[in-house]
Assembly symmetry: D2
Homo-oligomer: 312 residues x 4
């Protein structure tokens, strides 16, 4: 059956909110920062909550900021500081000495290059600390390494195979996986950062990972940081369709229409959209044309945040 | 009023074809090459034809090939040869001694990088022929130069300003402008090449040029070569909508719906879609996730064709 | 005759300093900034001074800092501020409203990519200020545009042809040309910034420009900013040779040697080195293997400095 | 003690050849192909030969071709075919079903980017053959995967750690390691391909690997393919020095000099050069300024050769 594609826990939650449904096992808190920034923390505490949300148990922190896509360095620096705090709050309780940053996605496709570009910004210390002593960068600096596994068409291997292999050899205590995400709503593109301690699950990211990257599969805690850079083409068509029909229903001669469409039920509606879409559309994404500048800025912000988080 | 966005003359023409309308002043011929390749030549001969088609007078040759996006080197070599022939047939009658290849678009946005990537493939001869004599590469080789003007966000200048300036200094006889295009139909993405002797007109290309690049504005003939790499997001929504309503009409309970929607007229329909779309969607494009590999291959094919066309 | 290759006026001057020669028409002042940074201002005031130095009349300001190649963001920010001041001090007296930044060099050769990478960092305002009014970024912001002309092997055109053409169309009041330079001394690589109001002269830069870019050739004042990223291979061999012979002279059995070599005179010495070098070596450069990280950092520093200089 | 840096077995051998010394346990054969190409096969058969050559036992095949750096596609295609044959001849006797291509070096430093650029050209089949069956690309196609491990400054990990990890997870039968090499002679730059079944040993490559990549360390046979793209700066100075002194000895007044220098012995000579060189020079390389175009062409040639070698 057709499934709406979003990698943002927040967007799942909004569906319920719209219907005024409260979900047992899911806690939500919102915090404002300045005029522009809203930070939402969602905790999925029970298996029940996980089932209802279709997401694993754990914490999902989302930073939303309408100016996030603007070219304002001071703003991005304060954003990086806030993000560093959030990362530190989501760290596992056990002591972390070494961190592997994984830059997921395809460096050659602009909208999917967030992960590799963040990896470029990381202050790499592992090799130096192993050679010259763990205190050369100060007592609080962690051992940081980074890998850009690439995509299957480039390597012939699953990202998870490469990451697991690298981990067997280098034994990090923690993985930070960074990836470009798919949102449901174009307003969120390049304006939302999601951080979660549940890792990456199959089907997420612009490149649709097949295998999970989480504590269960990798053996150490996995923090995932993502920014939505695309909307699934099928999703955008389906959503606009609903709105169109809703709008049409306001027109005298068409009020019957929305009623009829809605009577089909959401499942059947999506089936219809899927049938109508050219098969190519299933692997297609909607993205903006200034995506290069957005990715450039946001990868620096996330990179700075990770660097800040592991130097003290 | 809402306008359907396509840079392919062929797609304009198909609209008429669907309605079985013949347009005076527009001639059309189709040629098959092997099992896979169809070459359509459209000649807009009169001002009337130009007005009807919404495109300037001149020739539009389109190569369509369903395997064009496949990774088959021999196939791409034969495609390049065919394309070289088409380029030569569209050359102006006056003698061409020097050619400026212009790689339009944004190198940093994968779906818009066709022009810059083609420029990378060009066999550049002007500086050598000027220094060591016009026959160092054989009698038939033309003087070829190339420029990648970049986009306004990178330069602060219109492409046309940069190109005109470069032309004042270097006086080429001919301009070849290469650009990534927007199609209406996703099936065409990376599977169609359009060559025209009418240049680039405002609003075309992935990056929406503001000024025309044609013989009138540049003073020499301009051949434009393009491949559709994106579909305008608004167009894709509008089109799927039409199909959905058509499909819905087959369902007993909804037959009234299509009738009602169609009674609105195409203009009002598009206005509705446009109103409903998030304003962001107006600058958004739909593209595939293997776009990097497609662009890599196709830029080599076009580059090879241009190189072949000007060495004899 | 063999000529020692350096693009740094400071290195020319040091030769004289070593010999305790004072040159008429050349003034020199040094300023220390903190523990690490030395700023040297050389003014070539007369034609005589220009002849003696082999450089055009004008000001040459050099920032030397041994930590310039370190990865320290705060340090680079203070460097950028200082550089912005220097740029402002070298601006022409007439009012500057519009600036064209030219990123010289080859983006695809790491050691020659400083200019293009600086251009990527520039805050481009010309197109916005022309469309939305000159005060949209505040009263003090200048109209800034940028061009990366590429190298002859990519374009078939001289950089000067492209720049002149672009200037005819867009009429900037000032050109800022940024380029990677050749130094004589490897200690200077990535640790020295030279700013001059005399422009770029033939033979300078990693890519050896053929035509000058200066007020005479372009019609407006030209500020050139450069960082040495390479040492000419022939120069490095010649210099080490001299030092070797000097060292050898200390060894009892070889004291005759240095004497003999020096008796040849510098001209004949260099001729010898040149004869011995493989002809390929004449187009070769010495560069470090961390050049990618150095260029990344320094291009941000220069870019920030230019942005600061033209927003007030 | 100072060691002359070359990664080419051929250059080691030439030293002996110059002295007319024959080394026991080392066999040599030369083959001409056309006017331009010379293929030299050196077999180090015994431990004695290995000790004398300072290289592990095994086969070293070198293709030298003065036109290798020219832009001639047909020539490069025939070169690729020849290289594919050489690769096949050096394959281990046991059946190879799966191959991991490793692109060593730093993508961001042009002269060190050969390995990553070759990896970009590889026809990747492993993921497809595992999903759709081993015969989807024909019976003879091997499972090919590829990895670009990056350099320590980017990852904090040794290449060997990453490669071993990936191999534990994906179990290839054979590794092909591609790397940019250091030659002793600038004439060889971009004009020589070395293929060896002995893998990569410490200190080789532009980036100086610390750990070997060979059958002993990786558990499967390792074929290494390399092209010299740089000459070590210290080596070039030392060599030119020798030639200079030799030349000087011809001058009446200086005949004593060469004699004296040579009386120092090679070890002491090199010690002297090393002492004199600025410490920075030890991490520096000499490279040409058209290195971008050379790498572009040669990576396609090697990539095509590897693709040919494993499809039948």
């Amino acid at each position: 059956m057709y499934e709406i594609r979003t990698d943002l826990a927040l967007e799942d939650q909004e569906k319920y909110e719209a219907d005024n449904v409260e979900i047992k096992g899911v806690r939500l808190s919102k915090q404002k920062m300045g005029e522009d920034i809203v930070i939402t923390t969602m905790s999925i505490d029970t298996e029940n909550g996980a089932k209802a949300m279709g997401r694993p148990r754990g914490s999902y922190v989302t930073i939303e900021a309408s100016s996030m896509d603007d070219d304002d360095e001071a703003y991005h620096q304060s954003l990086a500081k806030k993000l560093a705090e959030i990362i530190q709050n989501l760290l596992p309780k056990q002591k972390v000495e070494s961190v592997l940053v994984v830059g997921l996605g395809n460096r050659n496709v602009t909208s999917d290059s967030l992960g590799p570009k963040v990896a470029d910004q990381i202050f790499i210390t592992r090799h130096m600390m192993r050679e010259f002593g763990t205190s050369i960068f100060g007592e609080k600096q962690k051992q940081v390494s980074a890998i850009v596994p690439g995509v299957m068409a480039q390597t012939g291997m699953e990202s998870s195979e490469i990451i697991r292999g690298v981990m067997e050899e280098t034994k990090p205590d923690l993985v930070i996986a960074v990836d470009a995400l798919a949102a449901r709503n174009t307003k969120r593109l390049n304006r939302t950062i999601q951080v979660t301690n549940t890792g990456i699950h199959p089907g997420s990211g612009v490149g649709n990972h097949r295998n999970p990257l989480n504590e269960e599969s990798l053996g150490v805690p996995v923090l995932a940081i993502g920014i939505p850079t695309v909307v699934d083409a099928a999703t955008i068509v389906g959503d606009t369709m609903s709105e169109l029909l809703h709008a049409l229903s306001g027109h005298q001669e068409l009020h019957v229409l929305e009623h009829s469409y809605h009577s089909l039920g959401e499942a059947r509606q999506h089936e219809l959209v899927r049938e109508l879409l050219a098969p190519q559309l299933n692997t297609m994404y909607v993205t903006g044309k200034d995506i290069d500048a957005s990715i450039e800025r946001l990868s620096m912000t996330i990179g700075n945040a990770i660097n800040l988080a592991f130097q003290e």
